[in-house]
């Protein structure tokens, strides 16, 4: 047995909580080791001192203060339960209901205002006018569609003929994987 093992078993030895084998080991260690004997007696004395510490009792006013605190707590609970017993409308307390309806009215008012300002804005009016004009042009184009389609085809032909064609057969070489 070494010092660490001895210290680990010390409390169990003092409280008689050891097996016979361990107790014999400790006693053998104590016989051979004066330092261990001193430690054991020192711990026993410490324990005696701590066990004999004067017990601290509650003051005479303890109960009075406690029941005063308890009374306060009860009163607070009663007032809070009274406070929570309120009539509700559709599950809302009057205050919450009023707040919610105010929010709804505000939302409707703001959205109405927003729509009306968008419609009365001159820039938006211009955009609307442009859109109308485009629609009108589309309608006109549809009316003379056959002539317009042929004109478009012609123009595409002229564009194609104007384009230069490059012959890259001899100029471009591809690198083969094998090379």
């Amino acid at each position: 047995m070494n010092k660490i093992e001895f210290e680990d078993l010390l409390s169990k030895y003092i409280e008689n909580d050891l097996s016979l084998a361990d107790r014999k080991k400790i006693e053998a260690y104590l016989n051979d080791n004066k330092e261990a004997r001193n430690l054991l007696s020192s711990i026993k004395k410490t324990l005696r001192l701590v066990n004999n510490l004067e017990s601290i009792n509650a003051s005479k006013a303890f109960n009075q203060v406690l029941f005063h605190k308890l009374k306060k707590l009860k009163n607070r609970n009663i007032s809070s339960t009274n406070h929570t017993k309120k009539t509700t409308y559709f599950g809302f307390t009057p205050r919450n209901g009023a707040f919610l309806s105010l929010l709804i009215v505000l939302f409707i008012g703001v959205s109405f205002n927003l729509v009306s300002t968008v419609l009365s804005d001159p820039i938006n009016q211009n955009v609307v006018a442009k859109e109308n004009l485009n629609n009108l042009n589309d309608n006109k184009l549809n009316d003379g569609s056959s002539s317009l389609v042929s004109a478009v085809k012609d123009s595409s032909k002229t564009k194609k003929s104007n384009r230069k064609t490059f012959d890259l057969k001899d100029k471009v070489q591809f690198v083969k994987d094998g090379d």
Binding site: L10, L39, S42, L66
Partner: protein, 206 residues
């Protein structure tokens, strides 16, 4: 139930009936759970001194110990239905007290750190000697008591709790293990370490 008057002395209520007087803590809390306020008063009278002693040894402050013991008993009142009859009542109440004390001790340490950091060079705290005259043996006992308390205070929180519960309150290892919610082996090893540390602190006074 909440408006029932509380008797100032629970003993008066329980001394009248011997059977009631022999009730265990668990019986009392069960009675209290079913609305018997006298049972609560009996619990208070059984535990107030034990709780004050335990918390005082932990905090080293009597006023705070009383305050926290009252808070513990208030918690028992407000959270009575949290107690289940599978555990010992003493374990439950000591768990509440130890949690409150630990929280308060941590707050106190933080306050102390901040107040120390704000302290100037000239701001020092001195303990003034008590004015009343005492005999030599009383003074010696008081001095030794203070030294032991100082040694307990110096223990790390884990060791301090187990040392107080075991060596001051004399609770069983099993109860301490349940209160602190740590394995039995851990409790035993902490107690061993705490005792060795206490002995080192107090060896000059032995």
């Amino acid at each position: 139930m909440i408006n029932q008057p509380l008797p100032t002395s629970s003993l008066q209520a329980y001394q009248m009936n011997d059977k009631k007087f022999q009730l265990t803590d668990e019986d009392l809390i069960l009675r209290f759970q079913s609305g018997d306020e006298n049972a609560y008063s009996e619990i208070v009278s059984r535990y107030r001194d034990r709780l004050v002693n335990f918390i005082f040894r932990f905090m080293n402050d009597f006023d705070q110990a009383e305050d926290l013991a009252q808070d513990t008993l208030l918690k028992v009142y407000t959270h009575k239905h949290y107690y289940k009859n599978i555990a010992k009542f003493s374990t439950w109440i000591y768990t509440i007290a130890s949690n409150l004390a630990k929280t308060e001790l941590r707050k106190k340490k933080n306050r102390k750190t901040s107040s120390l950091s704000n302290m100037g060079l000239d701001d020092k705290e001195y303990d003034l000697p008590a004015a009343d005259k005492k005999t030599d043996s009383e003074t010696d006992n008081e001095f030794l008591g203070k030294k032991i308390q100082y040694a307990i205070d110096k223990l790390p929180e884990n060791f301090k709790t187990v040392a107080i519960l075991r060596d001051v309150q004399e609770l069983s290892y099993e109860d301490i293990s349940n209160i602190l919610n740590v394995p039995l082996g851990t409790v035993k090893s902490r107690i061993n370490r705490a005792r060795i540390q206490l002995q080192e602190e107090l060896k000059n006074f032995l």
